[in-house]
């Protein structure tokens, strides 16, 4: 089996519960290399938890997570688990709703610390690569600024660049624009579209139906820890089959 034929991300029967509350009730998903999958659904439907389980920030209770042919949630413990999961996470870029930039580091240092400390890249080379990425997200002039001096949109663009600096195989976006003022959403969406054009494999949890329709190859509608409906965006977002999807979209498109 060559890596070319393997899906980039493969989820099999993912289940997660917090106490007696079941948040994910068996999710299956296949994301092929270079594809973009959007996950939509009401608050509390489990879409963020699903995304968090993929890089084991929220380890699932059952099921399998595969990244490019490698089992992510291996039954390891202690040091062996730490070593394994730290290596796997380097291959998955994560973008948070609240940006979570490191406030004590400049924008540039936010990008270089990962490659330098985790991948042994020389500081000089890490800096060159980081500057390229900052230029790509349109923030080369902010390299020496601390996060406190950046706007929300700029912070999120730095955060995306930080994730990209690790050269991940897949990018996970958890409501990347939900904490932004409306007029700052576009600049972040633009960067994400640019990534999409470069064939980056992406999983996007979002509340923006128009954006999902525009960039996605596949859309998942989740509710109550289950996938209610999935398919290409033209189908799920424009002509949904399920009544629940229809009513959700009616509310969302009306607002």
């Amino acid at each position: 089996m060559t890596t070319q034929t393997q899906p980039m991300v493969l989820l099999k029967g993912i289940r997660k519960h917090f106490g007696s509350h079941e948040v994910l009730k068996g999710i299956d998903l296949t994301v092929e290399r270079g594809k973009i999958v959007s996950i939509i659904g009401p608050s509390g439907s489990g879409k963020s938890t699903l995304l968090r389980s993929i890089n084991m920030l929220e380890p699932p209770n059952a099921g399998e997570i595969w990244l490019n042919g490698e089992l992510v949630n291996q039954p390891l413990t202690g040091r062996a688990y730490e070593t394994h999961i730290n290596a796997v996470r380097q291959k998955m870029g994560k973008v948070f709703q609240q940006f979570n930039l490191f406030p004590h580091l400049t924008a540039l240092q936010n990008l270089t610390i990962g490659p330098i400390k985790l991948k042994g890249v020389s500081p000089a080379e890490a800096k060159v690569q980081a500057m390229e990425l900052l230029a790509k997200v349109g923030l080369a002039d902010k390299a020496d600024a601390y996060p406190a001096r950046l706007s929300g949109g700029q912070k999120q663009r730095v955060a995306i660049a930080r994730a990209l600096a690790m050269r991940p195989q897949v990018m996970l976006f958890d409501e990347a624009t939900s904490a932004l003022d409306p007029e700052l959403v576009d600049e972040v969406n633009l960067v994400m579209k640019q990534l999409a054009a470069e064939q980056m494999t992406m999983l996007i949890v979002t509340h923006e139906m128009n954006f999902a329709a525009e960039v996605s190859d596949w859309v998942l509608f989740m509710e109550d820890g289950l996938v209610v409906e999935q398919g290409p965006p033209e189908q799920v977002l424009k002509n949904p089959v399920m009544a629940r999807t229809q009513s959700f979209l009616r509310k969302h498109l009306a607002s």
Binding site: L57, H104, G114, A163
Partner: protein, 218 residues
């Protein structure tokens, strides 16, 4: 009362010697207080119970009694049971540990105050637990705690005077030695008071600069 400061210059060497000891004790005790303070905070937060309980007990012992009493107990008490430690190191260690306990409480709060999103971002990049603590949590906690740690250092400076009771010729004991020769207490007391003020001002200046750097990231 007539003050005649001309009695002081002949003892400048004695006072200068005392000043140097005071500065040295402050520097060493502050180092111990900071390093052990961070260490204690980490133990109180993350270590297994076998380590946590002894540290809790040390904190309880030290917070419950005056530093002066602790110095007597450690220095004279230990010599009673046959342990003869040099007065200087006993004093520095006791002073440092005393403030380490207070610094530990400050650091503990500061570490807990770091946004959990920082840990998430670090772990998501692939940093391990220890690396996360070292590169992201501790630096941010230290920045937040710096003004309070600095304040403790200002207080510690003044408490170095207590080491005079175990025979360390820091500023206070140096002045008393000079007074015992000249019988002019106030000239010498006022002189060393001025010296304490000068050190204080210097330290405050450093702290203000640190605070300004802190503002840049807030």
């Amino acid at each position: 009362m007539m003050l005649d400061f001309s009695v002081v210059p002949p003892y400048a060497g004695v006072l200068l010697n005392g000043l140097l000891w005071t500065l040295l004790i402050t520097a060493l005790a502050t180092t111990i207080a900071t390093v052990c303070g961070i260490l204690f905070a980490l133990i109180l937060l993350y270590a297994p119970l076998v380590l946590r309980w002894p540290v809790r007990f040390i904190c309880f012992l030290i917070m419950g009694t005056p530093l002066l009493l602790q110095l007597f107990l450690v220095y004279y008490g230990l010599s009673q049971v046959g342990v003869n430690l040099p007065a200087f190191w006993t004093g520095v260690a006791a002073l440092g540990l005393h403030y380490a306990v207070y610094n530990a409480q400050i650091m503990r709060t500061a570490i807990l105050g770091v946004d959990p999103g920082q840990t998430e971002a670090s772990r998501a990049l692939g940093f391990g637990r220890l690396a996360t603590l070292r590169h992201f949590i501790l630096p941010q906690a230290l920045l937040v705690a710096t003004p309070q740690l600095g304040n403790n250092t200002l207080i510690l400076l003044k408490d170095t005077a207590l080491l005079s009771v175990i025979g360390i010729t820091e500023l206070v004991l140096s002045s008393q030695l000079s007074i015992s020769r000249t019988f002019r207490p106030f000239e010498f007391y006022l002189t060393i008071a001025a010296l304490y003020y000068v050190i204080n001002l210097g330290m405050e200046w450093v702290l203000r600069r640190l605070a300004r750097r802190l503002e840049a990231i807030k």
